[in-house]
């Protein structure tokens, strides 16, 4: 699917199969939250982000209202993706909100700011996907911090 934010004129493309996979993995941890890293690359004009894969954390803590991931033991996987042609790299993170909407909590916004501003992160605009779900419905929220403001992407087509 392709998502766009009209205000900033940037978009995201993510494979529907990958989305299905993330939802499936996320729901397996019900009632706890879960999440991981997003892998992908940019189009030649740097106006579109392609999200292609995920890397799941080796170590994490999770409860129905908290997901804390570490970055231990994932280096090799990142390096492997980076050696592929075309190169793929860390483009953001995803996590679930069981029984809730995909709206960032205060803690989420803080983490998004931390990651965006982190010196260790090479890209300027990491993407944050929140998967909100309950028994009958699943909703996705893609967010970006662009020039210090939070923007949400909207679906253009499926």
């Amino acid at each position: 699917m392709i998502l766009t934010n009209i205000e900033i004129g940037l978009s995201i493309e993510i494979d529907d199969k990958l989305v299905g996979n993330l939802i499936y993995i996320g729901k397996k941890h019900y009632p706890n939250e879960f999440g991981g890293f997003l892998i992908g690359n940019y189009s030649d004009d740097f106006k579109k982000l392609n999200i292609t894969d995920t890397i799941l954390p080796n170590r994490y803590k999770s409860t129905p209202f908290l997901f804390e991931r570490e970055n231990i033991g994932v280096d090799e996987q990142f390096e492997k993706f980076y050696k592929e042609n075309p190169q793929k790299f860390y483009v953001g993170e995803w996590h679930t909100h069981p029984n809730n909407l995909p709206i960032p909590s205060n803690m989420d916004i803080k983490a998004m700011n931390n990651i965006t501003n982190s010196k260790e992160v090479a890209i300027q605009n990491p993407i944050f996907l929140i998967i909100g779900y309950n028994k009958i419905k699943t909703e996705l929220g893609f967010y970006i911090i662009f020039k210090n403001k939070i923007y949400k992407y909207e679906t253009v087509n499926k």
Binding site: E7, I8, G9, L10, E33, G35, F37, N41, Y42, D45, F46, K47, L49, F65, L66, F67, E68, R69, E70, N71, I72, V74, D75, F78, E79, Y82, Q87, F89, Y90, E93, H95, S105, N106, M107, D108, A111, N114, I115, S118, K119, E120, V121, A122, I123, Q124, N125, F146
Partner: protein, 326 residues
Amino acid sequence: MNKSEHLDSVIKTHQITKEEKLLNKFRERNKEVKDDLFEHYKGSIYNPFNSGSYAKNTAINTKFDFDLIAPFKRYAFGTKGTLKEMYEDVYDFLYEKYKDVAKVKKQKVSIGIEFYADSENDIVKIDVTPGRELNEKQYIEDSKLNLYVYSRYGKFDAGSERIQTNIQAQIDSIRNRATTEKDSIRKIIRLLKVWKKTKFDYPTKSYFLELITIKAFDNKTIAGNLWDKLKTVLEYIKDEVTKDSFTLKDKGNSSNDLADTLTESEKRTLSNDMKNILDRIEENDENIKTYFPENAKFKEDKKEENKYQVKGSGFFTIPPKNERFG
């Protein structure tokens, strides 16, 4: 951020041709006032002419500066008529003529006619400066005029009749330099006017900024990109304007010193403002937008330029260690 690119965009978005429609409204009102003056003072007045930045080729589209000079004959207000009487008479005439459609008010040496907003919410303002030739028919020879100072104007007290100048020479001197050096002098003058517009009711006259810019170019090596040039001029103003020896000769009358149009306090403030601009932009490029804003009305849609970016050269990232989501 590229400061020179931004400054170029500031100039571009402030081009008067971008406001053709509004410009025409100014032109029409300007003609109307000019005709009314000529008609009313028939026989006592020479041709009113424009002296503002529009005439000098240094205008910006947020402030057209349509200044109209009304050159009166020596005995237009009687053989014993004073400059004060001239000023008051012109004010009374303009007030009666325009009071229903405009705010007419006395200013430092001119009379401001601010027309009420029209249906498109545009406001047109014309400043009329009455002046009188020094001796009968002398204006035809030397273009010199005496002005009346209505309210304190720098070191000139209210009621002073000391300002005597050749406005045509003023216009020509600026216009020539601004036209021949349009990539340097004209751009800097326009930028300074954009800055001045960000300050409410700034005491420094446009003519002052024009002259000091030219003086900076005459006294300093001003080179490099647009930001470098602007920076050098700002530094020049900062350093020079508070010096005791600082003068700015009026090109219309070399015994007039434009430095006298500012009080000591106003000079200190101007110098301090230049320092602040330089310091703040030095600290953070973004601040350039505070002092030199683009005209939002004509800002091209910037979203076309947005891109995903990297901070350094590579893309490779190991994500930061513990992060908590809720």
